[in-house]
Symmetry: C2
Subunit: 349 residues, 2 copies
């Protein structure tokens, strides 16, 4: 346990820590007192049928959704829906290696958590804490899309609509290797010390290399070529690293990134279909809009389209965005316009 100010309400905006009790994990191990960091917008209606769940992406928190996706005028409109954003386990806000006071799972001892563990935890939170047993929709980007798929397959009776953005139901081989490169960048730093560092600043070099890998995969070749960093008030390619990507990832907790990265590597709903992806995706009863981003370097449209083909009644809605995967941050105004249009149609269906 060590203090990391990045994971605080001052930086991330307000959230509530909600205990869901003992969580036994899919691959063994247990979190005795699992707490989820939750932010909500809007009101749950009497029928309790207007809830939208948003799980978070790798390295992200509820904040990105509050900042860009939710509000009057957006499809995710708090006047209509009760929107529940749940930070994924190990993301630095929910129970995580650096913030738990349970010594048995602190730092390097944190157990292997899966996408399935998160979804089980979220289902319990919604049911026991909010009394929600049916979701109007699940919406998530990247690792949030993995959780969205897990929800739609695992709890298929409970999910009416699903919008996985820039992510897949079954992690691809390339994605596995890409994530490994991200993790290698961190664990290879001698300061990482097998996960037993005194502060994330001991791992500054590894976090910097991690950020640089994101630079070439999170953003597209064309984003760099067209110098789209100018739109972020940055003055050069190098400043896009030193003033944006490196400090952003440099503030994070290395063990948190590892927990999330390993979770990402193993995301796969096929286990609900006897290891057959088509069988698993065939279980889905929700109306699904599959929403890849056109310039995504590691969740290419064709990978998402192939999964859409296996989901009964799913529609492929490609978001055209030059940033690639980091389009999720809504750099371009046209990004959110497209997301709102697609989600609006999905919610009206």
């Amino acid at each position: 346990m060590y203090p990391n100010n990045f994971y605080s309400p001052e930086v991330q905006g307000p959230y509530e820590m909600i205990g869901i009790g003992r969580l036994e994990l899919e691959h063994g191990g247990v979190i005795e007192n699992c707490e989820l960091a939750v932010a909500t917008r809007g009101e749950l209606n009497q029928a309790k049928d207007n809830a939208i769940l948003i799980p978070t992406w790798f390295s992200g928190t509820h904040q990105a959704w509050i900042d860009s996706y939710i509000g009057a005028g957006h499809a995710l409109d708090p006047d209509k829906y009760f929107i529940v954003i749940v930070n994924q386990i190990g993301n630095g806000l929910s129970t995580s290696p650096h913030n738990t006071d349970d010594e048995s799972i602190a730092m390097s001892k944190f157990p292997f958590v899966t996408i399935g563990d998160d979804v089980v935890a979220q289902e319990r939170l919604l049911r026991e804490h909010f009394g929600i047993t049916e979701l109007f929709a699940v919406v998530g980007g990247s690792m949030g899309a993995q959780q969205t798929y897990e929800w739609a397959v695992r709890f298929n009776e409970k999910v009416k609509r699903a919008a996985p953005i820039a992510g897949t139901a079954q992690n691809t081989p390339h994605d596995y290797l890409f994530t490994q490169v991200l993790l290698d960048a961190i664990t290879s730093d001698p300061g990482f010390n097998g996960g037993e560092y005194a502060s994330h600043e001991d791992v500054a070099e590894g976090l910097k290399r991690h950020a640089r890998v994101w630079a070439i995969m999170g953003l597209s070749t064309e984003w760099w070529k067209q110098e789209c960093w100018r739109g972020l008030d940055l003055e050069s390619r190098d400043q896009a690293l030193t003033h944006f990507l490196e400090p952003t990832f440099g503030a994070m907790d290395p063990n948190a990134l590892l927990v999330m990265g390993r979770k990402w590597q193993h995301g796969d709903v096929a286990r609900f279909g006897g290891d057959d992806l088509a069988t698993a995706l065939g279980r889905i009863t929700a109306k699904v809009f599959v929403m890849p981003i056109s310039e995504d370097m590691f969740f290419p449209v064709r990978d998402c389209a192939a999964e859409a083909d296996l989901i009964p009644g799913a529609e492929l809605r490609v978001i055209d965005d030059i940033a690639g995967h980091f389009g999720l941050f809504s750099f371009e105004p046209s990004y959110m316009e497209q997301v709102d249009r697609h989600l609006g149609e999905l919610f009206a269906s």
Copy 2:
């Protein structure tokens, strides 16, 4: 200086070391006794107008060309052409950090070499050693394409035909960052010791990480998804790393990779056009076939096509190949069939 068996005729096939004397470098520094490792096929005709130059790519040697591209039945036919493959400076065979007996440039003291330095050295080699002042063609892949462009712009009077495969005339911002990730993987290994290691084996971990970065950028998402490693007699995704990519790059010299990587980062013919790429490419008088590979992750077709548009009379000939950049290794039979067809047309023009 240390012995590295990877850079030997036993591993790379025979080559000749040809001294070209003192080479003053574009950005300062000098190689007093620059030696180029050269392999040739075919005979120079009386008119000395049938010479084809092939410069090498990052981490590569003449061997890949001998193995896959040259021979009876190929466009690069030694019965018709005098084919000269010149290993780039610093590639481990030509004068390089680990093999030079000039202590002033050994290991970490090796100077910054540019694509221009290579091309100047090659021009001198061809003229002084072989008496060649005109090239029937220059053909190169990746960093070899950079050298091909440098030839066609810098020595525009001397080059009749040019085939840059899977590379650009002006390095892109994304490519610069990608190369930096490759270099970071090596230099971050404590065993690298600022370039003063006793053996490449001291840098085994860094070289392994370097190989893993290549895994996600040198090969396409689709190559991994379709498990094309089966075509290389490998049994799993992990074996593609442990039995192929990691040992391949693990045998190389870290400083050699750094010299080549930095050279790659700064490839840019625009300096022959007052920093204007269009002006520089407008100088080209050779007939040019611009040949990107369809699935290339970091030299995408559009980047190459944009340059083709600036070259008088150039034709864009896209090579359709699932491997992406490493398609250059001719994994798929259809790759070489396409290369031969395009080069055959170029040579007939």
